[in-house]
C-alpha cells in the first residue's frame, strides 16, 4: 500500500470526487436536474406544434396609417386593433404582436407576421389590398426564434435553481443531519476545500444542464444562437449556478434537520419561481416588482433574456452581474463560516 501526502489541491480533488460519487449514487436527483429543462422544452415545443389558436388576435397599425383601422373593418370580437403603434414590425419579431402593419420607406404597405401566422398575415394583406386597391401591399415574415425561445431563459434559471437547491443544498443538509461532516471538522484540514469541491461539482452539472437545454432548444425549436451568444450564455449560467449553489449551501447550514431543510428548499424554489420574474410579469404590481428586485433569479433571468432573445436588458447588465457576485459571496461566506466553525468558537 502506498499513500501520497495530499496537498490542498489533492484534498480538493478528493472532496470533488466524493461529491461526484454522491451524484452517481443519487441518479434520480441529478437526472431530474439535467432533464427538467428538456422535459419543459418538449412540452413547450408540443404546445407550439399544436398551434393552439389564440382567442384574440392583436393587430398593430403604425401611426402613419390612421385611417386603416376603420377601413379594414375587422370584427373586434376576434381582432384587437391597436392604432398608432410605434415599429409594429419590431413588435411582431419580439412576439409582442401577432400582426403588424406599417409603411415601408419605398411607400409600400408591409404586413408583418411570424412564420406560424403566415396564412393569417396573407388574409390581412388581401384585406388591405381590397380596402385600398391602388396601394402596393406586401407581406413580410418575421423570424420568430424569439417567440420560440421566450421561456428558455426562465426554464434555464429553474433548472439551475434545482441543481443549486436540491442537489448542493440537499446533499449538505443530509450530511449535516447524519453527522458525516463531523469528522472533517475535527481533522486538521482546510474546510474551504469542501465548500469549493461542492461548488465545482454542481457548476459542472449546471453547465451540462445549460448545454443540454440549448441543444434541446436548437433541435425542438430551431433556435439559432451565435457562438458569441452561446459562450456568454454559458458564462452567465455559471454565475447564476454559483448564486444558487451558494443559496442552497447557506440554507442547508441554517437548518440541522434534513426533512425541514427539504421543506425550506421547496418553499424557496416556489418563491423564486413565482416571484423571481421568470414566468409571471413582476412589474404588474409594485410589491411583486420590489420582491423581484431582491431575488437573484430576476437578475439571472434578465441577463439570459438579453443574451438569448437579443432584445436588450431591463436591468443594467453590470448591476445584474454585480448583484449575483455579491449574493454568491455572501452566501458562500456565510456557509464557510458556519461549517468551519464549531459550537462556541
Amino acid at each position: 500500500m502506498s499513500f501520497a501526502t495530499p496537498s490542498h489541491w489533492q484534498t480538493l480533488f478528493v472532496f470533488t470526487r466524493m461529491s461526484f460519487e454522491h451524484s452517481h449514487r443519487h441518479v434520480g436527483l441529478w437526472l431530474l436536474g439535467l432533464t427538467l429543462p428538456i422535459v419543459l422544452l418538449s412540452m413547450l415545443g408540443y404546445a407550439r406544434l399544436l398551434h393552439a389558436p389564440a382567442p384574440l388576435t392583436q393587430i398593430g397599425i403604425a401611426a402613419d396609417l390612421p385611417f386603416l383601422p376603420t377601413q379594414l373593418g375587422l370584427d373586434q370580437t376576434v381582432f384587437q386593433i391597436q392604432p398608432e403603434v410605434s415599429k409594429p414590425g419590431e413588435l411582431v419579431r419580439r412576439a409582442d404582436l401577432r400582426i403588424g402593419i406599417e409603411r415601408a420607406t419605398d411607400g409600400a404597405i408591409v404586413v408583418h407576421s411570424s412564420a406560424s401566422d403566415q396564412p393569417l398575415g396573407l388574409l390581412i394583406k388581401q384585406r388591405v389590398e381590397l380596402s385600398e386597391p391602388g396601394w402596393t401591399v406586401r407581406q413580410e415574415i418575421a423570424r420568430d426564434d424569439q417567440r420560440a425561445l421566450q421561456y428558455l431563459p426562465s426554464i434555464l434559471v429553474i433548472s439551475l435553481l434545482n441543481i443549486g437547491l436540491l442537489l448542493a443544498g440537499a446533499k449538505l443538509s443530509r450530511e449535516r443531519s447524519t453527522h458525516s461532516l463531523r469528522i472533517f471538522q475535527v481533522l486538521p484540514l482546510p474546510f474551504w476545500t469542501y465548500v469549493l469541491a461542492e461548488w465545482i461539482t454542481k457548476l459542472v452539472l449546471g453547465s451540462m444542464a445549460t448545454i443540454l437545454a440549448l441543444l434541446a432548444a436548437s433541435l425542438l425549436m430551431g433556435a439559432e444562437l451565435s457562438l458569441r451568444q452561446l459562450t456568454l450564455v454559458l458564462m452567465v449560467s455559471a454565475l447564476i449556478s454559483t448564486a444558487f449553489i451558494g443559496l442552497g449551501v447557506a440554507v442547508a447550514c441554517l437548518v440541522q434537520d434534513h426533512g425541514r431543510a427539504l421543506g425550506i428548499f421547496v418553499a424557496v424554489n416556489l418563491l423564486l419561481a413565482v416571484f423571481g420574474d421568470l414566468f409571471f410579469a413582476s412589474e404588474k404590481y409594485l410589491i411583486t416588482e420590489l420582491v423581484a428586485l431582491v431575488l437573484p433569479s430576476s437578475y439571472g433571468a434578465d441577463l439570459l433574456r438579453g443574451l438569448i432573445l437579443d432584445q436588450g436588458f431591463q436591468l443594467a447588465p453590470t448591476l445584474s452581474i454585480l448583484y449575483l457576485l455579491v449574493f454568491s459571496a455572501l452566501m458562500f461566506g456565510f456557509a464557510a463560516r458556519k461549517l468551519g466553525r464549531r459550537a462556541g468558537a
Partner: protein, 251 residues
C-alpha cells in the same frame, strides 16, 4: 484552568440542574473512563469535548485550548471517535486514509493496524458500503493513527467482535505506553474501561455520582464515592463488577 492538563472539564452543566456540574482533569498518560446507563450524559459530555456542542455553563479545554478553537496543528494531537457514525459515506476508504496520512504524521505500527483491522481488503470500497464493524474499525483507526496526545472516544468498540476489540485495546495500550496518551473514553462496556482506563467516573442523569480507580471494576480495590450519592452508587458498583467478571469469563 492549568495548562498542564490534557483535558480539563470545569463546572460543566449539561442540563439546567444547578447541582449537576461536572469537573475533572486528565493528566498526560491518563485515560479516564466514563461509565453509565444510556442517557446518563456520557455522549453529551463528549460532544462538548469534541467542540460540537455547548454546555449550559462551564468550560472545557483540551491541551489548554477550547476544542472549537483548536488550530490545525492542535487538531493533529487529538483523535476523536464519535458514537454516531461520522464517516462520509461517499468517500472511498483509500481516499479517507490518504487524506488522514497527509494530515497526521504516522506511527510505525499504523500500517500493520490497517491489515489487522481488515481495512486493507476494503481500500477501494466506498465507506457507505462497509459493514458496521468495518466502519467502526475505520473510525477508530482515524483516531489511533499517528502520534496523538489526546483521545476523545465515544463507544469506540461497540460494534466490534471480541477479537477486533482486543486488537484495538492492545494497540491503544501500546500507543499509550509509548507516547503517554491521555483522554476520555465513554463506554457502556465495563471490561473496556477496566482494560484501558486508569480512572473511572460513573455518570447518571448528567451528574458524576462516583469515582474509582479502574482496577476496582475487577473487584481488586474498593471504590471511593461521594457521600451524597452513596445509596445510588452501591447498585451500579455491584452491577459493573458482576458484568465485568462475566465478560472476563466469556473472553
Amino acid at each position: 484552568m492549568a495548562n498542564s492538563y490534557l483535558v480539563a472539564v470545569d463546572g460543566v452543566r449539561l442540563s439546567g440542574d444547578p447541582h449537576a456540574a461536572l469537573s475533572f482533569q486528565c493528566q498526560p498518560g491518563e485515560l479516564i473512563g466514563l461509565l453509565g446507563p444510556p442517557g446518563s450524559g456520557k455522549s453529551a459530555l463528549l460532544d462538548v469535548l469534541d467542540g460540537l456542542a455547548q454546555p449550559v455553563s462551564g468550560s472545557v479545554e483540551i491541551c489548554g485550548t477550547h476544542p472549537a478553537r483548536m488550530s490545525n496543528p492542535q487538531k493533529r494531537d487529538v483523535g476523536f471517535v464519535f458514537q454516531q457514525c461520522a464517516l462520509p459515506v461517499h468517500m472511498r476508504v483509500r481516499q479517507m486514509l490518504s487524506l488522514l496520512w497527509g494530515m497526521v504524521p504516522s506511527d510505525d505500527s499504523d500500517l500493520n493496524l490497517i491489515d489487522q483491522l481488515g481495512l486493507s481488503d476494503a481500500l477501494d470500497c466506498v465507506v457507505g458500503d462497509l459493514s458496521a464493524a468495518l466502519r467502526q474499525c475505520l473510525s477508530v483507526y482515524l483516531a489511533l493513527h499517528g502520534r496523538r496526545r489526546v483521545w476523545i472516544m465515544d463507544e469506540p468498540t461497540a460494534a466490534l467482535n471480541h477479537s477486533q476489540r482486543r486488537l484495538i485495546w492492545d494497540c491503544m495500550l501500546s500507543k499509550q505506553r509509548r507516547h503517554g496518551i491521555g483522554g476520555v473514553i465513554a463506554s457502556s462496556n465495563g471490561l473496556e474501561v477496566a482494560a484501558l482506563c486508569q480512572r473511572v467516573y460513573w455518570m447518571d442523569r448528567g451528574r458524576i455520582i462516583g469515582e474509582a480507580a479502574a482496577d476496582m471494576l475487577l473487584g481488586h480495590r474498593s471504590m471511593s464515592k461521594s457521600g451524597a450519592f452513596a445509596s445510588d452508587y452501591a447498585r451500579p458498583q455491584q452491577a459493573i463488577q458482576r458484568d465485568t467478571q462475566q465478560q472476563l469469563e466469556a473472553a
